[in-house]
């Protein structure tokens, strides 16, 4: 089962923009370390952090059963435009697909908007003579001679990486593969990304954008991962290095080197896994995870303990975080929305005399006005302070004194005065608006997903999340808020809990009225083989669990609904059963079935995971003995639902044993964050040490 006979040694590494976090789980507990990210050679930071943590725990590298790694390096390379010198080869006549993008203005009324520059400028976008039709047949054979000439040109231009995106290659990728062969012959050493491998899906712009992004980060990522793997071997590690993907699943280093684009947003995926773990621990099958940091808030829906999955996302939104202003990527992802709402989000009054918050952020420098580092514009954190939710003397464990005067002056000048209210109402307004923004984003996301929000649990993390979560829950009609323990260790902790799982996908249109069971069975068999290869790297001989999904729609619709299918061998007669599964789900999401229409499935997904030792909490889990939380003192805090200041208890979190109970209004203070329980909530500490806020039954 593993090298040490039963007990696991797991290590997780998360490289963020500023810090690299390392967490080690041993049979005796866990140890963590934080080192600065080493930009030029990130593997050095990883090795330093890893060595630190291993020494701390007195464990040698050869003991590790596996190493899980996630990183934002790929995302940051795209946002900061620090990728390789990349060229694009398209079908003749289509080199501008990347520049046309969606051919749309992403803001209706704004005449000033500009589309972001594509990752590859026009002089490095080349064309090849070839053409495949929508049915996969070749209308024009590939001009191989032309490609050979182009290969020489790419060498002259010092191109490091090439994306090849031909029309309809998702149906027939032969021409793209032939181009790779020729490039390998004529320009060895060039990285080549083929669109039908990176993103085997219809719609040329999205496929091109995804493939180009893959090519753009590939040299950086492939080189880095190769070096890291070697460093780990040199340290004596014998376990496989597994990469966490945007989908929250794991993959091998070889796959990661070929498709590095699948690693973007693996950090937030770690957060989603942590939320999943907590949902399971607390037996909450439906939840919303909210991660509110300094600049943005990320929101994820979990249903049946699973975060929602999607196959598209957008990175590097360049224009006020507006959807459509970034680069679309079609890859398996944990579905999340990100909006410009964080502690550092700046508030102002717009032309309509309305308070607006974000997306502009003060960042960490100069930071909110109350940091006293030169910031003069009011932020959410300044407003939290003025509402009494933050203790100016105990911020960040007392390492930083907050300047209430500066916060008041900023809020008064930029919000209060323009709308004619005092600082207290202005601060209340800023918090109400930012909370409303997050609540609205959650609602729209739920509508897009065809999901309901009521009766979900809200799991809040991030520096600002625990302060705002209860109010957001009130707005969304959710009764329970959980603030996990050790939320500060963040994504790396989530990685440790990542299911040993792999998601394999393929597109194959099937009309359920004429269901061809053989073809579908064969498709799933191939997916199973592909998935098992990766999963077995880490699962040993543990039992594997297979789940299947299909993206289905009424024939003629443009959006699909993902439905779960029974994992078994199908017969032709199963077309009717699959139709029923889809229609039941459709009715649940959109209120009614549509008569007389046929149903089709477009994409089939298989998720293979090793059975976890963890299990869903059940009613027999004993509740810890209740006790009364000690109240350190009281303070005045603005309660938005009451619409006025109230007297709140202040409670130290580290003094709270499992079972401790307290009544809102209360502030629960810890080093990294503060939890706000409004008047309408009561709180307790769970067996696992999480803070649980519950809306009072009479509230």
């Amino acid at each position: 089962m593993n090298q040490s006979g039963g007990a696991f040694y797991r290590l997780a590494v998360d490289i963020g923009g500023t810090f690299t976090d390392v967490v080690l789980e041993t049979p005796d507990g866990w140890a963590s370390g934080k080192v600065l990210t080493t930009g030029k050679a990130p593997e050095e930071g990883v090795v330093a952090g890893l060595q630190f943590v291993l020494d701390k725990a007195g464990v040698t590298a050869d003991k590790l059963d596996f190493i899980i790694h996630g990183t934002t390096l790929a995302t940051n390379a795209i946002i900061e435009r620090r990728g390789a010198r990349t060229a694009l080869i398209t079908t003749h006549g289509f080199r501008d697909t990347l520049e046309f993008a969606f051919g749309q203005r992403f803001d209706q009324y704004d005449l000033e908007l500009e589309r972001p520059e594509p990752l590859i400028a026009r002089p490095l976008r080349f064309e090849a003579r070839e053409r495949v039709a929508a049915d996969g047949s070749a209308l024009v054979a590939l001009d191989e001679f032309g490609v050979r000439e182009l290969a020489h040109k790419l060498r002259e231009l010092d191109i490091e990486s090439v994306a090849v995106c031909f029309m309809h290659s998702y149906r027939n990728g032969a021409h793209e593969r032939r181009v790779r062969e020729i490039l390998n012959e004529e320009a060895p050493g060039l990285f080549v990304s083929l669109s039908h491998e990176v993103c085997p899906e219809i719609r040329e712009y999205e496929r091109t954008s995804t493939t180009v992004a893959n090519a753009y980060v590939q040299p950086l990522m492939a080189t880095y991962l190769g070096k890291l793997d070697k460093c780990l071997r040199d340290l004596g590690a014998r376990s496989p290095l597994l990469m966490i993907m945007s989908s929250g699943s794991l993959t091998s280093i070889e796959t990661a080197q070929r498709f590095p684009i699948r690693l973007v947003e693996s950090g937030p995926a770690g957060g989603a896994i942590l939320a999943r773990q907590i949902a399971m621990e607390l037996g909450a099958s439906r939840a919303v995870a909210l991660d509110m940091g300094g600049t943005t808030a990320k929101i994820i829906l979990l249903t049946d303990f699973e975060p929602r999955h999607a196959r598209s996302m957008e990175v590097a939104r360049a224009y006020r975080f507006l959807p459509g202003s970034g680069l679309p990527l079609r890859i398996p992802v944990i579905e999340m929305i990100e909006i410009g709402a964080g502690g550092g989000s700046i508030a102002h009054v717009d032309e309509l005399g309305r308070i607006a918050v974000g997306p502009e952020s003060s960042g960490s420098s100069p930071g909110p006005a109350c940091y006293g580092l030169g910031g003069s514009r009011p932020t959410v954190t300044d407003s939290d302070l003025l509402q009494g939710k933050l203790d100016p003397d105990a911020f960040a464990g007392g390492t930083m004194r907050l300047d209430t005067q500066a916060a008041r002056a900023a809020v008064e000048a930029h919000v209060g005065a323009p709308i004619g209210v005092g600082w207290a109402d202005a601060a209340a307004g800023v918090c109400e608006i930012v909370d409303e923004n997050m609540a609205n984003a959650t609602r729209v996301h739920a509508a897009d997903a065809g999901e309901e929000l009521e009766s979900r649990m809200l799991i809040a993390t991030g520096g600002a999340g625990p302060l705002h979560a209860a109010r957001i829950a009130e707005k969304l009609g959710m009764g329970t808020v959980v603030i996990p323990k050790a939320a500060g260790v963040g994504s790396a902790f989530g990685f440790l809990k990542a299911p040993i799982a792999y998601e394999a996908v393929h597109s194959q249109i099937a009309h359920l009225a004429k269901f061809d069971a053989d073809a579908v069975n064969k498709g799933f068999a191939n997916l199973r083989t592909e998935a098992e290869k990766v999963v077995r790297l880490a699962s040993g001989d543990r039992l594997l669990r297979e789940r299947r999904f299909a993206d289905m729609r009424y024939r003629g619709q443009g959006h699909e609904l993902a439905v779960e299918l029974p994992a078994r061998v199908y017969e032709n007669a199963d077309g009717a059963a699959l139709t029923e599964i889809f229609e039941a789900q459709y009715q649940k999401s959109y209120g009614r079935r549509i008569p007389n229409l046929t149903v089709e499935a477009l994409t089939w997904t298989l998720v293979l995971s090793a059975q976890d030792d963890e299990s869903v909490a059940n009613a027999s889990t004993p509740e810890p003995a209740p006790s009364v939380a000690p109240i350190a003192r009281t303070t005045q805090v603005f309660d938005a639902e009451v619409g006025d200041f109230v007297t709140a208890s202040v409670i130290a979190r580290d003094a709270l044993p499992p079972g401790a109970r307290f009544d809102g209004p209360a502030l629960v203070v810890e080093d990294q964050t503060t939890i706000w329980a409004p008047s309408s909530f009561e709180g307790r500490i769970s067996t696992g040490g999480h803070v649980i806020l519950q809306r009072k039954s009479n509230a």
């Binding site: 520049e99 051919g103 000033e112 026009r122 040329e204 229409l597 619409g643």
Partner: protein
Amino acid sequence: MSDKFNLIRHQVMWDRLISLVEEQARTLMRVAFSTVVREAGDLSAGIFDIQGRLLAQAVTGTPGHINSMARAINDFLSVFPPDKMTAGDVYFTNDPWRGTGHLFDFMVVTPTFKDGKLVALFACTAHVADIGGNGPDPNSRDVFAEGLFIPIMPLVNAGEINHWLMKLLLANSREPEKLEGDVYALIASNEAGGKRLTKMMDEYKLETIDELAAHILTASDRSMREAIAKLPKGTWRHSVTIDGFADPVELCATLTIDGQTIHIDFTGTSPVSKYGINCPIGYTHAYTSFGVKCLVAPKLANNAAVLDRIVVTAPEGVIVNAPYPAPVTARALIGQMLPDLAFGCFEKATPGRAPAEGTGASWSLRFGAGPGVTGQGGKGTPFLSQNFQSGGMGAHWLHDGMAATPYPSGVKAISVEITEALTPLVFWRKELRRDSGGAGVFRGGLGQTIEVGSREDAPFAIFARFQRVKYPAAGRGGGADGAAGTLSLASGAAVLPRGTQVIPAGERLVVEMPGGGGLGEATQRDPAAVAYDVANGYVSRQAARDHYKVVIAEDGQVDEALTAQARTAKPERAHV
């Protein structure tokens, strides 16, 4: 609770309304069947108070719909007064004079009840797949020939769908399945909005939204008045000539700003056409007010108070106020040119603010084949396809115009692969059109070139209806005009810009879409920007020298000496 905090609460609820109409629009887009709705976003959604005043509209959607709906709701209220409405009712119409200007647009209105009391109306509009008649063909001589005309009537009675009516609709459509799906999508969209609204009212313990509506409209009116107060008072006139359909059309506008309202009157404009390019006044109002708002108050949330301060009038019988039963199917051809006309007026009132003219009416490529289109008994798969594409936008005073992007329409381009998967068409080229942007300090956005043929040995037809072929997008402030659009066969023969034409088997159609106009004198453009354009192939070397007086050396850099010489030489100023 302090009154001040109550004010903030109103703002929060206002934001909520904007969010819930967005949910309404997204629901429509997700469940719609019509390709132009689901792929291109040809739809709109909004919430109205029980007096019929628009309170909030979705960001997703297209302006021609939303501003038309803002007026149309009153007609619904006159047919179905609030005391006649029942929970579970849904009403609809495609009346061009009451809805959004042509029979393709289904406008659906759903009253929302709370505790048995009417509290709000939700409305949405989508361009459905097919509603019979001659459909998109502007050759119909009246609206009767254009398709099935549905006056304002109930679609659902107290939760019971009107099945007989549905049968009638489907019997009149070439694509009954899609039409049925679209109708259900429209119903579901309003339902989603209504559900959210009643939840919000529960949360804030509201019995009506009247106080909230008053707050929204008062605040918006104040802001709109302030925006108007910043403009000079006076009257300005501008007119443009556009291609029209058979004959050119003169569009004349008189802008009057009196400190309180912005009034645009179309007296002097050409009379109604015998082709279906006429605009009902509601559609005229929609696009005119859209253009004005983009310029005067782009950041204000759109609602009744903002729209009420933009007054649009036209004598009955001109092409922008076509009386029933004039043919109107292609009213976008005229309506989408109106923002440029309004910009022309504003350029005189407030110089240095309006962008140059752009493509305007979108260059949607409509293709088809089959009996009645390419002839009976021919081989080849019958199909109909609409492909949203666009030429360039006019240059802006801050930057070059956007390439191949529609304005004023907000629709998205449809993927070539999607079109090819649904039809026998093959697009051989879709690329930026060099030198099509009007020269200027800021260059007009480039048009695009599309070359399309059939995969089958069979003819196909283009339903052509394009503007800016004879009269290109004009530059402003000394900027040059954008390139005019052209259509031809790859073999060289000309194709007319308007009318249904058959592309013979084996031939390819080449469509070169117009570029936007430039702003300011081209010789004042930064030579480095010209060199960048040449390096990218947006501008040819020749055009750099001829229009910008910039000489680009072999290495792609600006030849400073020759450029200085060219720019100081005696200008043989071309008349712009």
